[in-house]
Amino acid sequence: MRKLSFFINALFNGDHQKGTDHWVGQRITSVAIVPFVALFLIFFLMNYGSGYEEVKNYFLNPIINSLTILFFVLIFLHLKQGLEVVIEDYISKKLTREIFLKANAVLCNCMGLLGVLALLSIYFIG
């Protein structure tokens, strides 16, 4: 149980002051993304050049839809974690750094949320 809460904290808390949690969180998303990248490349290759209806039908498949939701959550978590490290490395002024970290978190979370909402609306509204 303690281990589980540690992983959850590492993934979602995003407290950049806690180095170990951040590091572990980044490894978790990295490992999880690897199979998705392979799937993404295969599906991209298979569906490149498809029209609107085809792509829509494609995302109406519940398995594809939910996998894509998971993919979005993972890549935008990972993007946020990665950019956090970059910001911490290159911006030494404390206030500017805090502003960039906040903006980064908001931007990445919003992009991920937007993608997930779009997928859900394709599936449930059409």
């Binding site: 690897v34 935008f76 950019l83 970059v86 030494s92 992009m111 993608g115 059409g126």
Partner: protein, 130 residues
């Protein structure tokens, strides 16, 4: 450490005095591709967003990626995704304490450079010929 001190401390990578080696170049590229992959991530979200918005917007996005600039972005993104994944896997292997001898670092570096170019080239070839 007081506030003033923390504001004036030097930044970590001193690129101008650093001799380029395949380790440093690949590390920098891993970071750059990581930052750059923001663009295709947003493009995928944009693609998914156009579907509930209607065919008009979808066609507009497809048109953008059929232009020279759009295709350039697509090829670069494809290579970036493959490269960042390969170096990322290598980082995970390193984290497990394996492959950190200079010999293996050099071998895996060339494997990643050649592999990422070949794999993305193959995908572009398959897309173009289909």
């Amino acid at each position: 450490m007081n506030k003033h001190e923390s504001d004036t401390r030097p930044l970590s990578p001193h690129l101008t005095i650093y001799r380029p080696q395949n380790t440093s170049i690949l590390s920098i590229l891993h970071r750059l591709t990581g930052i750059g992959l923001m663009v295709p991530s947003m493009a995928i979200v944009a693609l998914v967003l156009t579907i509930p918005m209607g065919p008009k917007y979808f066609e507009l996005l497809v048109y953008f990626f059929s232009t020279m600039f759009g295709k350039f972005l697509l090829v670069l993104s494809l290579w970036g995704i493959i490269y960042h994944t390969l170096t990322g896997i290598r980082h995970l292997v390193w984290d497990s304490g394996r492959g950190i001898e200079l010999k293996w670092v050099n071998i895996s570096s060339w494997f990643i450079i050649i592999g990422s170019i070949l794999l993305s080239g193959l995908i572009v070839f398959l897309l173009e010929s289909s």
